[in-house]
Symmetry: C2
Subunit: 609 residues, 2 copies
């Protein structure tokens, strides 16, 4: 009997040998002891499972082996469970996480060593799974645990060393070329092994327990508008040492709060608006602290929060900035990035003196190559509730790798150590420092500017493009259903026009009239709120933002108008009989999106009549 590793092997840093290191596990995976044949399911995407079905590989009654790297693991678990799998094993293929070969892995590089197994949550819905929509306070009503949106099957992360042992013995048809990874074998689909009597026995001893998590909130109250909050946040928990996720961000956060406190102590300085520093609990279990807090204070935050700036990790590389945001913050982020000196001497020598310059050079926007790529904010960190449930514009920034590297290779593994950060990623902590400075600069800009530095034109352009995209790609099939896209197009135009008219309002504004200034700022704040549909997106009551919600099938990514695009995707995949109700959902959501775009246009005017 071959047995997989239950812990990750110490390789370099002394703390890796600590007796406190837990067994490898996935949060919220069910306990269980199951036995069955193995099936290799590539990245476990919808397409991957569809391919297996077409190839005649029945998932039911098997244990699925899937790769990290494309889908959020909770989505993979959900799909495996829906297909009738008994259990799920997750591994990280060296093709994705150690592409430079076996010599260039931790501790010699930031790539993943064979013994690494990333932990992580498998819960799909964010926040406390027992208190949907309401805060998990002492007085909360809790649904029975068996109704919680967590896997019913055991899910377990394994190393690629262990995956190699399993895949080497797998039988069945060879996996297609695109499914092959960098383990030095031919990957087969299964089910079953080359030795007919072999099977996989997956034993998971997870247990669920009710425990308390804490958010730590600090505030520097604003001098003129204490009831307007510019929020900064990072989470406090990690799977193992978490030197990158989240401690690189936590270091930045602590440094910023130290700096602002010192400034206040020495000079009495307070920003115009309040700065709120948020240390979130239990992010790793699916944004529990931040989502519950957002639910608890939704009324106030909806009324008072200007923006939320998240730094989950300050660095996961040292190549370029990677920033996701609500489009309304784009210009402010650009401006701050242009003010931060470049920590990379080679880049400075090449004439790129700021972090903006390197960002624009190394990661240009494919559509407007003169600008750096600003990604649409998806989900996957503590901005989820604020951006997607109540419409507070959010941003998440970090220094990252080049495009060839997938995420942070050591993410959630034992090897996310201080040594990794200190010796490999950021000798001298120059990149940490740059991200910290960017974060602080942006926070001060948002907290101090008399008129909120919101980029309405960029938002309007973004919306127009996304609207035209939908028209171009899907226009014909939509028209074939006698659904008109005209009102949707008109609404995008209305928003653009309102933005242009608002320029005149701003130009004519008496900036010495505090209530007049407040009025336009309130209008600016209402723009992002306008896109919140209290009814939720189609089939997704936990997402309310009609523009920035991530696509249904991958909680990490951001897709403009995900409710429309996801429904069109579902229509495309549905059988003929199932298409009709989906078209109705599409038409209904299209009308909702149109309404909220018109709302965003209208909030920029003083009147309702």
């Amino acid at each position: 009997m071959w047995v997989s590793a239950i812990k990750q092997k110490p390789l370099y840093a002394p703390e890796e040998s600590s007796s406190d290191i837990p067994f490898n596990f996935n949060g919220y995976g069910a306990a269980g002891n199951v036995m069955g044949p193995l099936v290799y399911a590539h990245y476990g995407s919808e397409e991957d499972f569809a391919f297996l079905a077409n190839a005649g590989v029945n998932i039911s009654g098997t244990i699925v082996l899937a790769r990290y790297g494309q889908s959020f693991r909770a989505n993979i678990a959900q799909r495996a469970e829906e297909q009738g799998a008994l259990g799920l094993l997750l591994f990280s293929d060296p093709a994705d996480y150690a592409p430079a070969g076996p010599d260039f892995v931790y501790p010699h590089s930031y790539f993943m060593p064979p013994s690494a197994a990333p932990l992580g949550t498998t819960k799909l819905v964010d926040g406390d799974p027992l208190t949907p929509f309401y805060p998990a306070t002492e007085s909360a009503f809790r649904i029975p645990e068996e109704e919680a949106p967590i896997p019913k099957i055991p899910v377990q992360p394994i190393s690629y060393s262990d995956a190699f042992d399993l895949l080497s013995e797998l039988s069945g048809a060879a996996a297609p070329q695109t499914w092959q990874g960098d383990l030095n074998i031919t990957y087969h689909l299964g089910p079953a092994f080359r030795e007919a009597e072999w099977s996989v026995n997956l034993e998971v001893n997870n247990y669920n327990t009710m425990t308390t998590t804490y958010n730590v909130i600090g505030v520097l109250q604003g001098r003129e508008e204490p009831d307007r909050y510019v929020m900064l946040g990072n989470h406090l928990d990690s799977w193992l040492f978490g030197a990158v996720d989240p401690s690189s961000g936590t270091a930045a956060m602590l440094e910023l709060s130290r700096v602002f406190l010192q400034l206040y102590n020495e000079t009495g300085w307070r920003p115009r608006r309040s700065l709120v520093f948020c240390g979130w609990g239990a992010e790793e279990y699916g944004m529990v602290g931040s989502v519950e807090w957002t639910e608890q204070f939704a009324k106030q935050l909806s009324n008072r929060a200007v923006a939320y700036l998240n730094v989950d990790m300050a660095i996961e590389g040292n190549y370029t900035l990677r920033t996701k945001s609500a489009p309304i913050l784009t210009e402010a982020v650009y401006q701050s990035a242009r003010r931060i000196p470049n920590p990379n001497p080679e880049e400075v020598a090449a004439g790129r003196t700021t972090v903006y310059d390197t960002w624009a050079h190394r990661r240009p926007d494919p559509v407007q190559p003169d600008f750096p790529l600003m990604q649409l904010i998806g989900s996957g960190s503590d901005y989820k509730g604020l951006q997607h449930n109540i419409g507070v514009p959010c941003m998440d920034t970090r220094y990252t790798h080049d495009d060839k590297t997938l995420g942070e290779p050591m993410y959630h593994t034992l090897y996310e150590t201080f040594a990794l950060v200190d010796e490999i990623y950021d000798r001298g902590f120059k990149y940490h420092s740059a991200v910290t400075a960017l974060w602080g600069d942006l926070a001060v800009k948002l907290a101090e500017s008399k008129i909120l530095p919101f980029s309405l034109h960029i938002y309007a352009d973004y919306i127009s493009k996304a609207q035209k995209n939908i028209e171009e790609i899907y226009g014909q099939i939509i028209s074939s259903q006698n659904i008109s896209l005209e009102f949707f197009a008109d609404a995008a135009v209305n928003f653009n026009k309102a933005v242009t008219s608002f320029d005149k309002v701003l130009n004519g504004l008496d900036q010495n009239n505090p209530l007049a200034v407040r009025r336009v700022n309130d209008q600016l704040m209402l723009v992002e709120r306008s896109f919140i549909d209290p009814q939720g997106l189609p089939g997704r009551s936990d997402y309310n933002h009609v523009i920035t919600a991530p696509s249904k099938n991958n909680a990490y990514g951001g897709t403009a108008f995900a409710g429309l695009v996801d429904t069109l995707t579902a229509i495309n995949e549905a059988s003929k009989n199932d298409k009709k109700p989906l078209w109705r959902i599409f038409a209904q959501h299209l009308a909702a999106v149109t309404h909220f775009l018109n709302t965003a246009a209208k909030v920029l005017s003083d009147d309702l009549w």
Copy 2:
């Protein structure tokens, strides 16, 4: 064959003979031609139908004859339909609408003559029935008409003259004493007539049509806070002449807008905040104009509306004021009422010089007899969307009858003529004038006061009493389910404490700091918003206010914590097996109510930490 009247007979005013008068009908009642035995169902309440069931009277396949006066007619229709009735006839019994006897009816008095038949809507859900949750704009998605929440059975109003003819011939057991009315016969339950072969043939030729209604919105923009709206409203449509409903209110509205315009034209005066004058379309079809408008501008109204003051009818009598409001407006209404001279010379002679004095004397609060009765705002007019869906504090006021008279006897009949108002109710229009003055005074107070005149202490007391009521009446049965009422009680205490602390904030406030003033006003505005549950009340997605929602079974009345009380009522009535899921709903809603009470406490402080 006996045939009922299809129109109401002209009695007095020349316009009653107009050829434009439509046939008697109920809005949204289904077209149909049905035949069956008749059943007398008293007021058509839940209890009434339960009594019939116990008495062995099967409703299925019958035509139900029920009395106006206790339940909203749409609720009666829904119950009749659920019981399998083929159709519903509605009449107004003289016991309720002509209690002074046959000589004291229109045109000799304001009581109902035998030929009167009140029209009215039978749609249960407010707003456009085809566009739930979203505004009925041109781009809206409309659900298929067959899914609309309107009766599937024909519903028809008849006069009590016609009801007499039907009831005189009805067989079956005699109705109980409490079910007897003032028609000079013994009322029987049915089914069927004394002549076995007789039956009722109900033919309704209603048709549904898509038509456009208009809201007319006027504004006097505020000089300092144009983005804060004090709203006044009345509806523009009536069933027939509508001299009382709504034209008595419309006269007041037009006079107020004339006065404010003249004041502005002559002096340039503008209030501190904007005054918004709303003339609503299609209120009579179930608040279509106001609810759709509220849905369209929910984001802005939620952010900007201070209060909404509704006068549906200025008068329906001349005995005393009758006012319903969100408790937060109580003190401001009292103050305005104390400033309005009494239009009744006898009352003035008795030392009661203001409308407040007569109100306090003739309709004292049974619990605090020194104060006039302020009723909790229910539904039934254009404040529905604003109060119950987005939490704008609303008020509705009018002059009314003494308690012995039920509503306005001529309500929605042909005889709601100018003569009725001019010759019977309000010679010289003194009561109209008093209501107009009260309305205007209150609007100016809300628009001009630097600090919003919101009565937090009254609200907190109201909540404490309602919370204690639930504890007293239902405490034992709730505890028997191991559901604790402790957090709910604590939350009521928290709100009381927060209100007391807020007094200190107000006392210490620098009223010359416009942003500090704005801050406390925004907090005051957030209190009512705090009680809005975006998830809706249990089983009622169209009501969101956890305190002021009307009870489920009667859309006119206001019941504190209707979501709790209605669920407890349902539990009481449920069979043993059905109680368990209802207790879960109760516990869940109790936790939600507790959360929103705590929210209301918290919005009164500057912080979230």
